[in-house]
């Protein structure tokens, strides 16, 4: 039987995804070195086409699109990863408690989860931002709030199957407390679907952040890819690069995350992959 790593890294699509994500991460970390000026700074003639003094041109106010792209990778990734971490933490907690306890607590928590699931998530995010006012922190809160229910359902389902297994019963007989059993015995066995769902959630979070910024509900002091598309969409006909450049960046990033996520899924569930 092949190990997880050999299955994961033996997949060429995963390599493509990892290369792009690694590059992106490096750019995000080194943003201030690669583009030392404020990405909002007016540095040149407005709407200069790519290929001149500025490799990717300038926007409607004469801001460097390349600098925006570099700093945008940082904002976009940070918001998406933080939102996903919050969503995974909260979703796991709700799902684990509901699945492990069952009965009334399960019923209450699942109805609570369904309440969030029934509201169309993007509209819900818009409402939250409108109420909280746009800022980086509120974007994280809004995206996390609309993203946790699927995590809760996945974790609950896994906990339900795992908790009836013999090693859990053995732990009960051995006298371990509920919290210890849940954390030490049950949750580690739900990790593989959680990792897969969570990694794909980052892609969704990037899309939600971009869509909110596109609608003008992004953080006004933060250069993100969605902000760049939102600010450039009015000029699509005369300055194609304003939407195309960040648009392609989003496309590639979401694609890369999906490739890696699928690779994880195949590696963690080898029987499914062989089908």
């Amino acid at each position: 039987m092949k190990t997880f790593w050999s299955r994961f890294l033996g997949n060429p699509r995963v390599y493509l995804g990892l290369i792009w994500l690694g590059l992106l991460l490096a750019v995000a970390i080194a943003a201030n070195v690669l583009a030392p000026t404020d990405p909002f700074a007016i540095v040149g003639k407005p709407m200069a086409a790519p290929g001149g003094e500025f490799w990717l041109g300038t926007d409607s106010l004469g801001r460097n699109v390349l600098a925006g792209l570099i700093h945008g990778s940082r904002a976009t990734l940070l918001i998406a990863v933080l939102a996903t971490l919050f969503a995974v933490a909260f979703g796991t907690f709700i799902g684990a408690v509901a699945g492990y306890h069952g009965g009334l607590i399960d019923n209450v928590l699942m109805r609570f989860t369904e309440f969030f699931q029934t509201i169309p998530s993007f509209l819900f995010a818009i409402v939250l931002i409108a109420v909280l006012s746009p800022s980086a922190l509120n974007l994280v809160v809004a995206i996390a709030t609309v993203s946790w229910p699927p995590i809760a359902r996945v974790v609950r389902g896994e906990v339900l199957t795992v908790k009836s297994r013999e090693f859990v019963q053995a732990a009960v007989v051995a006298g371990q407390g509920d919290a210890a059993i849940l954390i030490k015995q049950v949750l580690p066995n739900t990790l593989s679907p959680l990792i897969v769902t969570g990694s794909l959630l980052i892609a969704t979070a990037i899309l939600v952040e971009s869509a909110l910024s596109f609608l003008g509900l992004g953080a006004p002091n933060l250069m993100s890819w969605g902000f760049m598309i939102g600010a450039g969409r009015s000029f699509m006909r005369e300055a194609w690069w304003l939407v195309t450049v960040p648009g392609v960046a989003i496309l590639l990033t979401v694609l890369a995350i999906n490739l890696v996520g699928e690779g994880l899924n195949d590696a963690l569930n080898p029987r499914l992959a062989d089908l």
Partner: protein, 527 residues
């Protein structure tokens, strides 16, 4: 003994309706785009911008105005102001009928002014504040009785600002919830036919219009198209013929102007005169210091904002009063904040004010609230942010929705600096005084004096100008007033927006009044 100024307005029809009617092609349908769809068609209770774009065609005013803002006859053939300024006598036309066939009389004027506008119209409350009664000695004479002179009234009698309503319709029942609020009946060149929600309002020619031979058009359709690029495409393809007041994005208007079948006009905002400003919270340090406020006014690059955000549809503001008032003699320029060495001046003022640059190059920082009217305001906020960074002031932008922003600025005064959009309207008494008069510091009332700055001298100048019936003397008062406001700079007046009106060349005479798309289109005709 009682000398009377007679501002004789010679026979109404001669001026406008009497133009050689045969020369114009009659017939045709003009399609106007209005954005957004109006909430109702009741211009007597709301000044919401899209309402007037429809109803100004359905109702008439007592007067109309030329581009110099001088009155011209409409429903009133002539008017006369008594020498003490306390009575204005209007002689009404005798041949005017409402769309339901009933005649227009002085009773309707009395009802409209005293019952409808003075009590319900957001601006009418201020315009007609000093009108104590409207006398009706005969059906074709209406006399406004005033408690003190109010020259502003003669600027506010257009079909857009003060539509004359039929008393026998709107006098029945509660005017605030009137059955005809969405199916208006007036005396104007077009009569209301149908409103298909989300799609269009259809107006047809009023065959009994009192200006014989007018209107030339058979039909006027006002379409509502939610998406900006669809609006632009409709104009480009000739499916729609006229749109203005922000219905077409500025950069699209600039592009459309290059097309052979389209003309883009910046006329028609002379009675609206919108000004983009930066309003300071003058009760909050450091904006309680006039030098700081002036420094920021110097630092903003007005020309850059005009070219790159408003795409050329504007000019730098020279003070609190719009240059549109130049022909009527009420305009005066204040301090010129567009001088070549403005950045040095700004730096010097901040040094003098006691805000030297710290080790990191900054002097102080603040949060700049952005007017939530759309993306050009975000871009403007970003420009201000960059401009102020040059003089060592760090700006953080905040963008909230309209109700939150209004509450923050005009109720809680919980702001440092906000961008703002204030209209000068047809007269400074309506559009300018509200911004800086001490009696306009009213928590909870929006678009008044949010900076909370005032001074006894400027208050006195405004109070005098409001009752001064001689235009030249008014102009002198305003010149002094503008200079004083400019020195204090409670608001940085940035630029005057000239809204582009996009017009199909298939039609002529569409925008022929200072009200632009708020005009009645009676003389609009096919090429």
């Amino acid at each position: 003994m009682n000398r009377r100024f007679v501002l004789a307005l010679t026979l109404a029809a001669a001026a406008l309706g009497g133009l050689p009617a045969m020369a114009q092609k009659s017939g045709g349908t003009l399609v106007q785009i209005t954005q957004p769809e109006p909430p109702n068609l009741a211009p007597y209770i709301s000044t919401s911008a899209p309402i007037g774009q429809v109803t100004a065609k359905i109702f008439d005013g007592l007067l109309e105005y030329g581009f110099d803002l001088k009155p011209k006859p409409a429903l009133a053939e002539s008017f006369e102001v008594s020498s003490d300024g306390l009575a204005i006598t209007f002689k009404l036309r005798k041949d005017v009928k409402f769309h339901d066939g009933k005649p227009f009389t002085s009773e309707d004027v009395q009802f409209t002014v005293m019952e409808a506008l003075k009590k319900n119209h957001p601006r009418g409350i201020a315009t007609f504040r000093d009108v104590t009664a409207v006398d009706t000695p005969d059906p074709h004479t209406a006399i406004f009785r005033l408690s003190k002179p109010a020259p502003v009234i003669l600027k506010a009698l257009s079909s857009y600002e003060s539509p004359m309503l039929p008393k026998h319709i709107y006098g029945q029942g509660d005017i605030k919830t009137h059955a005809n609020a969405n199916s208006p009946i007036g005396s104007g060149p077009f009569r209301f036919v149908e409103w298909r929600r989300g799609e269009f309002v259809r107006l047809d020619k009023n065959p009994n219009y009192w200006r014989s031979g007018l209107p030339y058009l058979d039909r006027l359709v006002v379409r509502f198209i939610a998406d900006a690029s669809t609006r632009t495409a409709a104009l480009e393809k000739g499916e729609a013929h006229v749109a203005g007041l922000g219905a077409v994005p500025y950069n699209d208007a600039k592009k459309l102007a290059l097309r052979p079948n389209i003309e883009v006009s910046t006329k028609g905002t002379e009675m609206i005169s919108p000004i983009v400003e930066l309003m300071f919270n003058t009760k909050l340090a450091p904006f309680d210091n006039a030098k700081v406020r002036q420094a920021i006014s110097y630092a903003v690059d007005r020309q850059f904002a005009i070219e790159n955000v408003w795409f050329g549809f504007g000019k730098p503001a020279m003070g609190i009063i719009s240059s549109n008032f130049q022909p009527s003699g009420l305009f005066a320029a204040g301090i010129d904040f567009t001088v070549a060495d403005r950045v040095e001046r700004a730096n010097k003022l901040l040094d003098e004010a006691g805000f030297p640059r710290k080790a990191d190059g900054t002097r102080f920082e603040f949060v700049h609230d952005i007017t939530p009217y759309g993306e050009e305001w975000q871009r403007f906020g970003e420009i201000v942010q960059q401009n102020l960074a040059q003089i060592g002031v760090k700006v953080t932008l905040r963008y909230e929705d309209l109700p939150k922003w209004l509450k923050r600025v005009y109720t809680d005064y919980d702001f440092a600096v906000t961008s703002n959009f204030l209209f000068n309207l047809p007269d400074p008494v309506l559009g300018v005084h509200r911004g800086v008069h001490s009696d306009r510091i009213r928590p909870g009332t929006v678009f008044v004096n949010g900076s909370r700055w005032s001074s006894p001298e400027t208050d006195a100048l405004m109070d005098k100008a409001a009752v001064e019936t001689n235009e030249a003397a008014r102009g002198k008062l305003y010149a002094e007033f503008v200079q004083k406001v400019s020195e204090a700079s409670p608001v940085a007046y940035i630029l005057e927006v000239r809204f582009p009106t996009v017009l199909s060349k298939q039609f002529k005479n569409v925008i022929d009044t200072p009200l632009g798309i708020y005009g009645n289109f009676a003389t609009a005709h096919r090429e």
